[in-house]
């Protein structure tokens, strides 16, 4: 570790992993509820479990991104963090607000939560992924602004690298687009239109910049390849991301009341969205092949290449499958969407956070060359368990989606209703649940790898 203040990343990473585990446990509950809707009713109904599952995902990824920024920005800028104290204060504020919100979801009915938190003063609740009470949303804004201030001031006083600039651009975009969470028009079309400015422009826009920056940082560190070479790739990737992703928002605007030209804009531009992901994969393999050093932390390099590959499959291939308007006409909001959502979020964002954790945590714990070999071996098992299980979940959900579309959407007469269709699909949901369990095993194995070889110092480089 080069700078003392990088240590503030540690609580962020640890808390991110705790929330990740929580997310997966709620995923298991949901997996069971797809088979038997009354599981855990009335204590944790489906809508609450789903809200907790998706909200935990977003919050743990934000903790991960923040930890990543606090770790890599001082090193890139070659200076201590502007204010480590502020970073720790925002950590505790964010953690407390996050826990309170999740407890609010679980302990009181959603309507009561809206009432207690004064949602009628500035109504923002009730939209998918943005269910947080208004007061929590204001908290998120305050935390993110103080975080960007801290990171921005560090970059300003230190070295400006391409990685830093791409990262801060992504983070500012994240903050700006979140503001649309406060805009809640009465007109349902406008409501959906701007809701996607948060959801889509995050995951298919600015978050990809954050992903690109973190991946580039880790690749430089584990391969020793020239920064200039990696930066060229990064420029090309983010340019293509923005060219395809911004107008690609149109693939959410099909048949929701927006003008018909979105069918064309959405189809054409989002069909280009796999290209930057393919390039990211090309460059990850290429850079690892050109490596000049043999890193002690081999598993971090595996996670980095794995991220690029799984992101391509999840975001690129599974996104493309249902992005064209004529296909989406039948698949809109079916289990195909769920399949894509799972593999894309895991492959692109969960895995990049795990990548930086696997690279940085050993160093933060005083193991400059990575964890001992025994720990890396266990971590490698967790890598394969998680990746294979998530592909299993995705294939199961894809099969469920195809089945659902054929029963519920394709027939021009006598189509089955939603609930009847879901009942038909239950055998596939069993397969999904089994892969959910092996994924959980992967997460637990990953967590266990942190406790292996505690007394050994580091891998031999």
């Amino acid at each position: 570790m080069k700078y003392e203040s990088q240590q503030v990343a540690k609580p962020y990473f640890i808390f991110a992993l705790i929330l990740f585990t929580g997310q997966i446990l709620f995923g298991l509950i949901l997996g069971m509820q797809y088979i038997n809707g009354d599981t855990l009713f009335p204590y944790i109904p489906f809508n609450v479990a789903r809200m907790v599952h998706t909200n935990l995902l977003i919050v743990w990824l934000l903790f991960g991104f923040m930890g990543a920024a606090y770790y890599l920005v001082p090193e890139e800028s070659e200076t201590e963090l502007f204010s480590p104290k502020l970073a720790l204060i925002t950590f505790w504020v964010f953690a407390a607000a996050g826990v309170a919100t999740i407890l609010g979801y679980l302990l009181v009915p959603y309507a009561t939560l809206a009432e207690i938190t004064g949602n009628d003063l500035l109504p923002t609740m009730g939209r998918e992924f943005l269910e947080q009470p208004t007061i929590t949303k204001i908290g998120i804004v305050v935390v993110v602004l103080s975080f960007i201030f801290n990171i921005g001031m560090t970059i300003l006083k230190g070295r400006k690298t391409v990685i830093n600039i791409v990262l801060i651009t992504g983070l500012i975009g994240l903050a700006v687009f979140f503001l649309f969470a406060f805009y809640n028009p009465v007109n349902l079309v406008l409501d959906k239109y701007f809701w996607w400015w948060v959801v889509h422009l995050w995951v298919e826009g600015v978050w990809e910049l954050i992903l690109g920056a973190i991946l580039a940082f880790v690749l430089i560190k584990v391969t020793g390849v020239d920064r200039e070479y990696i930066e060229k790739w990064l420029y090309l990737i983010i340019a293509l991301t923005l060219i395809s992703g911004l107008i690609g928002t149109g693939h959410h605007y099909y048949w929701i009341g927006t003008p018909g030209y979105w069918l064309w804009f959405g189809s054409i531009f989002s069909a280009l969205e796999p290209i930057p992901f393919f390039m990211m994969m090309l460059y990850a393999f290429d850079v690892v092949k050109r490596r000049r050093i043999e890193p002690g932390n081999k598993i971090a390099s595996t996670w980095a290449v794995g991220t690029a590959t799984m992101a391509f499959l999840g975001a690129g291939v599974w996104g493309f499958i249902h992005t064209l308007a004529p296909v989406n006409y039948y698949t809109h909001g079916s289990q195909i969407t769920a399949a894509h959502g799972h593999l894309a979020f895991f492959g692109a964002y969960a895995m990049i956070v795990i990548t930086i954790i696997s690279y940085a945590m050993p160093i933060l714990r005083g193991r400059e060359n990575g964890n001992p070999a025994a720990a890396q071996k266990v971590e490698r098992i967790s890598f394969w368990l998680m990746c294979i299980s998530m592909i299993g979940i995705t294939l199961a959900l894809t099969a469920a989606g195809i089945w659902q579309v054929s029963l519920q959407r394709l027939p021009e007469t006598g189509a089955m209703g939603f609930i009847d269709t879901q009942t038909e699909i239950i055998p596939v949901y069993w397969i999904r649940l089994v892969f959910g369990l092996t994924f959980t095993l992967g997460v637990l194995t990953y967590l266990a790898s942190f406790f292996i070889g505690k007394n050994e110092k580091s891998a031999t480089a």
Partner: protein, 198 residues
């Protein structure tokens, strides 16, 4: 090669994977996609045997057959292109082979156009029945892949002319050729499945 008794055998050649591994991930995901379509086709066929019995008889087998020949020949062109670069670093010759590949691709598109026109004249339409819907979906999807392949080979041709490849740097060229072979392979499976067996 004469080795005296007791001499150590030559070390095994280093394992060589052509092209960037990312290309293989892409090719494998494309092939899985087509495998899913094939499985779906066979399932629908299994459930509707009477519908599929006579479907193939109404298709333009000549067009499918000509396109099979065109694609196999194009794969030979692209392989010769890669070979030319790897053996002699001969840019001009590689460019000619790649241009021939592109020519074959355009010919494929022309035959496809004639086939679709012939279909309309003979009352084979996308809404005809389930077999024809699947036939159009699969063949149009394959056509889209050929068009992506045209962009990929076009890119490799430009790179060749710009001098980006030489005897020892052929990764991009190999990647383009690998993708092209995938298109060919899918067609070789698609042709008998649709046009012959039906």
């Amino acid at each position: 090669m004469n080795r005296t008794f007791g001499e150590a055998p030559p070390t095994a050649p280093e394992r060589y994977t052509p092209a960037n591994p990312a290309v293989w991930v892409f090719v494998l995901s494309e092939m899985s996609e087509f495998a899913f379509f094939f499985i779906a086709f066979l399932l629908v066929k299994f459930l509707n045997p009477e519908l599929f019995g006579h479907g193939a008889e109404r298709l333009a087998v000549w067009a499918g057959f000509i396109n099979t020949l065109i694609l196999i020949t194009s794969s030979w062109f692209v392989a010769r292109g890669v070979q030319g670069m790897k053996r002699n670093g001969d840019r001009r010759r590689t460019a000619v082979w790649l241009a021939l590949t592109l020519g074959a691709a355009f010919l494929y598109c022309l035959v496809k156009y004639l086939e679709y026109r012939w279909n309309v004249e003979h009352g084979v339409t996308i809404r005809g029945d389930l077999f024809f819907s699947l036939y159009y979906y699969l063949t149009f999807n394959h056509l889209l892949h050929v068009l992506i392949g045209v962009c990929v080979i076009g890119w490799a041709l430009i790179q060749t002319l710009l001098g980006a490849y030489d005897r020892h740097h052929v990764e991009g060229l190999e990647g383009a050729a690998t993708y092209w072979h995938m298109i060919d392979l899918v067609w070789i499976l698609l042709f008998p499945m649709l046009y012959i067996v039906g």
